[in-house]
Amino acid sequence: MRRRLPFDPWHLVLAPVCALLAAPLAWMALSSFMNNAQLNRFPPTIIPGSLHLDGYNYLFDNAALPTWFLNSAIVSLVCVVGNLVFCSTAGYAFARLNFRGSKALLGLMVATLIVPFQLTLIPTFIIMEHLGLIDTLGAIIVPSLVMPFGVLLLRQFFLSLPREVEEAAWIDGCSRWKILWAIVLPLARPALATVAIVTFLLTWNDVSWPAIAISSEAHDTLPLGIASFKSRAQTNQSAIMAANVLTTLPVLLAFLAAQRAFVRSIASTAVKG
């Protein structure tokens, strides 16, 4: 029946809705290629007649954008690796090992999911200050090095794996570490991908804690740098738009390259987290 229809009427709904959802991004990209004269006209130009690179040029000549980019990359990379290692070891211990305090500790981890992050902001700031980490990348990295959601997600996943394989390896004299490394983790690839993707998204985009922990421009991450840049250079709109594009690009490319994994991780965080 569907094959006989040359045109599905749902296109009439989906095309405009999806265009509307993508429009702000498209306009962001377009306006990054306009110069400020084009941007400050009224009524504003939507489609520029000619393309300019003023914004990008200004950014690379005058802003600390490469530094911010590097800071963001370091923070995200370290946090992704940290979460993969620490969440999988902790998740495995909770799923498979019997130890005193495991129930209580697990309960605390679940509790942190409902504790709003604002509650921890001020003491975390004071702790980081005592550790001498305030206004360094360490202050951003340390609190995000292990996220409870990752521990819980991986624990759920490990619980769902059949025990028989591990038991066989155990009887053959395999150590716990070896079982985890050689048997369990390769099976857990989809769950590990979820943890990696979500950690990357959260740390790359986070601004509320970094805004408190970082005060000097040299240690700004991308979103922080852009927010401060916006308030300083309010009139240089094309440069700000260019900065927006450069910040969004890595996440966007990652999304397009691994769309299935992205969508699955978003859905599974929601349903299992």
Binding site: L21, I127, W204, M241
Partner: protein, 318 residues
């Protein structure tokens, strides 16, 4: 096969069995003490930076720190009473509640509608899904910056569009009355709780609804609404409950978009509770900030408890 092995003792139990009289260390740490090596990093960070601060915040909220004299004195509930005397704080609570009341239903209904539209097999559906899901990855700061330009009163592209349909220029973010509504619009579009996020979650759940039922529905147009009500909607119920809770929590925690766009202004018209806390930390008013975060946390925990109780009652009646 597996039933034979299912009777076998679990490895951890087997390891514990030969030692009926446990060594002291084992008695202290449990059957597999090495497990603590696996959880230690996670435990240190989560207890140290998520659990301890909760208690610490409570302590801070009844103290008054003088940053210049470096003294700390106990002030009881004065921080809390100061807070409720501060019109900026009651304004922040009001703004947060208005925002949540608009954002939560709009994002969930919009997400459900989008998911239903995307849940079919037609040409280009992959492209449609990509376009619809892309906003999830946009950072909230970028989104705030972007929308403050789109809705700029002088050169914003939104006014250009209004101009073409013959509506005069609007002040948008420059007007305290419109700014909060625009924040709702901006946050519906992108970030980790936007319409697209809800659609991803709904779509995942929709694809678990048995195919035969939805196929039957698409052939027999008359039964479509009935199928939706009696098959699809009940199947979505757990996800729906989750999303209501998730969206409410993220609405109350609204910060990033405000930070990127209005910074609380014009006046105090878009100061929401988390922004208020952020400002008090920046002003070194730790006591008030901690008290404010306890007020927010209290509200959130009451909400979670309510949802949990509701869930339990539903499970018992089911």
């Amino acid at each position: 096969m597996s039933t034979v092995f299912a009777q076998a003792p679990r490895p951890t139990e087997a390891a514990a069995r030969p030692a009926p009289r446990r060594r002291p260390l084992q008695r202290l740490l449990g059957e597999t003490p090495t497990a603590w090596l696996y959880v230690l990093p996670a435990a240190i960070i989560i207890v140290g930076l998520a659990i301890v601060p909760v208690a610490w915040s409570a302590l801070l909220s009844v103290q008054d720190k003088d940053p210049i004299a470096e003294t700390t004195k106990y002030v009881g509930l004065r921080n809390y009473s100061d807070l409720f005397d501060d019109p900026a704080f009651s304004g922040a609570i009001k703004h947060t509640l208005i925002y949540a009341a608009a954002f939560v239903p709009l994002s969930i209904i919009g997400g459900l509608a989008l998911a239903l539209a995307l849940n079919r097999r037609i040409r280009f559906i992959g492209i449609y899904r990509t376009l619809a899901f892309v906003p999830v990855v946009v950072s909230a700061t970028i989104q705030g910056v972007l929308f403050s330009f789109i809705f700029d009163d002088q050169f914003g592209v939104a006014n250009a569009l209004l101009h073409t349909v013959g509506i005069g220029p609007q002040p948008f973010f420059a007007d305290g009355g419109q700014a909060l509504a625009l924040l709702v619009v901006a946050s519906l579009w992108a970030g980790t709780s936007c319409v697209s996020f809800c659609a991803v979650v709904f779509l995942a759940a929709l694809q678990d609804v048995p195919k035969e039922l939805s196929e039957a529905a698409s052939i027999d147009g008359a039964r479509r609404w009935g199928t939706f009500r009696h098959v699809t909607l009940p199947a979505l119920a757990p996800v729906l409950v989750f999303l209501v809770l998730w969206q409410t929590v993220s609405a109350i925690q609204l910060f990033d978009i405000v930070y990127g766009s209005t910074a609380g202004g014009p006046g105090n018209s878009t100061v929401v509770v988390v922004y208020y806390i952020y400002r008090s930390i920046r002003d070194s008013a730790y006591g008030t900030g901690a008290a404010a975060s306890y007020v927010v946390a209290g509200g959130l925990m009451a909400l979670t408890a309510l949802a949990w109780l509701g869930q339990r009652r539903r499970e018992q009646t089911a």
